[in-house]
Amino acid sequence: MLFGLVRTLAQGWVHELYVKPKFHFSFFGFDGLPRIGESAIYVLYAALIVAALFIAIGFLYRISISLFFLGFTYLELFDATNYLNHYYLICLFAFVLIFLPANKAYSLDAKLGIAKRATDVSAWTIYLIMAQIGIVYTFAGLAKLHPEWIVNAMPLTIWLKEREHWPILGSLFQLSFAPILFSILGAAYDLFIFWFLLFKKTRPMAYITVVVFHLITWSMFNIGLFPLIMIVSNIIFFSAAWHKKWLSKLGEIPNSKIHSQSFPKWAILYLCIQLILPIRFLFYKSQILWAEEGYRFSWRVMLVEKSGIANFTIKPKGKPGFEVRNSDFLMAFQEKQMAIQPDFILQYAKYLGRYFKRTMNLTELEVFVDSHVALNGRVSQVFVKPTINLLALEDSWESKTWVKAHPEL
């Protein structure tokens, strides 16, 4: 995490992502989130870096991990157009780690007596992390059982074609059956890897697969730290004896035990939420890949190649309408995400409504959008119904009936 934070700072992304945009998109229910200024963000980043360092060496662990969770989650909530599944995963891990005794053995806390040294560990703490990993993989796999992935081999066909000039792997990608083969392998990996990791007999082979799979996807896609996180966190599946063998190389052989103890109530509740969130899409009638209702927080990764155009018309009452130049209000990366996700289109329309009411001193106006989205190598389709005044809508848990259905999905 330390590396990731420093990388973000060094690339100058902080300014681009948090400071430059005039308008920030919110997650549902977080539209009142206060946004701190530039210097405060740099302070927060510095604090997170210190916290990450302290967590790694186990110094003031409980405070550090709590601060890290709060700070990192706050940054993720800052602008919803930055949402990535693996940042969400980091938030979840950080949350869970607050309650786990990760500072009991090889930590500065234990050495200094800040935390009581313990070499025993409750089994549920391990199972909780395992379950979380299992949920990520399994739901990612289930999401790939959509005909678009498993039959049409989309969007992998597009991505492999882009990489057909690669050394060695490139010639493989050029094979006519490569997209469908890789799609099936990808789905199978996600669906079954958790189970193969779980059983002792298959574990070594499964872990090698984990490393190979994540290294390949790392080289192919711009997915940041995710492969590293998965490769490292999957080590938890190995047995206590295996861990001890390696830890003994650090010089100290603890006489530790894993004792069974039932899951605490909060962990059960947490897992239930994690199981429900990815299937909430079942309650929506819309097409999941198109309208993306129930899409986030569901481990739906790499499923779509989408691009969109969304032009907004402001129509003051009794006056001719005019079009908005999105670049006056949004950064390129925000506009890109906004144009393909209905809740962002609505948030932005509301913002435009407020902005023009204020600056033009108007009480009544309407906002319409002319939006077109192209999905997975198809021609574009009209996205939001163009005759609907967006200001008359409210975002809610209910189905977004103002999004037109895709005729081919």
Partner: protein, 362 residues
């Protein structure tokens, strides 16, 4: 036993995969098709881009000599103005080539930053501010020349003839002349690279061309039409912000520009119609609303051109006296942008990259 099962599984999967026919053009997108880009890239390099850039250089060289003879009073201002108009119109034809050597020379930004900022221009002339490498200068290029030749030349002929003004004009002309010469020299070595970069990734020649076409079309839509007509500026018309506000050949410039992006799309050159983007779309059988995508695009090009030709006066005049017709043109351009920027890249499996994300994706 276990080995036998394994063999059966491997055999079965091989059978399944080999029975999957190589996908052909029926899939409607380029990444699932067996389209070979060789002829396409050759046509663009040999017949369209390189000859186009060479013609522009020749045109610009003769304009440069017009200017030199004007300084020695061998040519009249009118002759100079005609020369500028020819160069400006020729410039419209090469704007879609804004990648590779042309992009490295920042040619569009240096040759045509409009509208010209007259205050800055006057300041730069007095201070001899001829460092054209600075970005975001709106007192250089063809718009500055247009202002000086048509705007100031009409009203304030003396100031136009001052030594400082003439030096500034020479500096602009020399700068652009050097840039176009460099572009043409660079294309000699760039050509092999261009021809070899097949595929659909962001550095492929096809992707560069589709992005350049879109970038140019979007500038036309926004700056040449959207802003003057008020469609993008709270409905407030700004007729003076057209591309050539003094000489008022904005309509010809826009026609030249639309015609050029249309011909670029078709792969048409002086001697005939070669393999172009329309042929690729036809090959992969891309269609929208039950008609071929290429037909839809070409029909809408024709509609835009016809709309523009229907204006009796200049574009500026049309904005002032019949803006609803210019708004109608703007709507057609919005429709075209959906075709060019959303439909076409999607079926060609190409990403629009000229505005891009910081950070990762997932």
């Amino acid at each position: 036993m276990r080995n036998q099962i394994l063999i059966v599984i491997v055999g079965l999967s091989l059978a399944i995969f080999s029975s999957c026919k190589p996908k052909t053009q029926d899939d409607g997108n380029l990444c699932s098709s067996d389209y070979d880009q060789s002829a396409l890239l050759k046509n663009y390099a040999n017949n369209i881009i390189i000859p186009g850039l060479e013609t522009f250089e020749n045109e610009f060289s003769s304009f440069k000599s017009s200017w030199d003879s004007y300084k020695t009073k061998a040519k009249s201002l009118t002759q100079l103005q005609v020369g500028l108009k020819d160069v400006y119109l020729e410039f419209q034809k090469i704007q879609c080539f804004d990648f590779g050597p042309m992009e490295s020379q920042n040619f569009i930004e240096k040759a045509n930053p409009f509208p010209c900022n007259q205050m800055e221009l006057a300041k730069s002339i007095t201070t001899a501010n001829t460092d054209f490498s600075k970005p975001d200068r709106y007192d250089i290029g063809l718009p500055a020349l247009e202002t000086l030749f048509y705007g100031l030349a009409k009203s304030d002929i003396d100031s136009f003839k001052t030594a400082k003004t003439q030096e500034y004009i020479s500096a602009i002309i020399n700068d652009l002349h050097n840039r176009i010469k460099t572009i043409n020299t660079d294309w000699v070595s760039y050509k092999a690279d261009f021809l070899s970069r097949k595929g659909t990734d962001a550095s492929s020649s096809l992707s560069l061309m589709v992005n350049a076409l879109n970038k140019n079309f979007e500038i036309s839509k926004r700056d040449r039409v959207g802003i003057p007509t008020g469609a993008l500026t709270l409905g407030i018309k700004q007729a003076n912000l057209v591309e050539s506000p003094h000489a008022e050949f904005s309509k010809e410039l826009l026609l030249g520009n639309l015609d050029c992006t249309k011909r670029f799309f078709q792969g048409i050159w002086n001697k005939g119609d070669g393999e172009g983007l329309d042929e690729v779309l036809d090959y992969i059988k891309a269609s929208k609303n039950d008609i071929g995508l290429s037909i839809g695009i070409l029909n809408n090009y024709d509609a835009m051109i016809a709309k523009l030709q229907s204006y009796s006066g200049t574009l500026k005049n049309q904005v002032v006296n019949g803006n609803s017709e210019v708004i109608a043109l703007y709507s057609l351009m919005s429709k075209q942008l959906v075709y060019l920027k959303s439909d076409m890249p999607s079926v060609l499996c190409i990403a629009i990259t000229y505005l891009d994300n910081p950070s990762d994706s997932d």
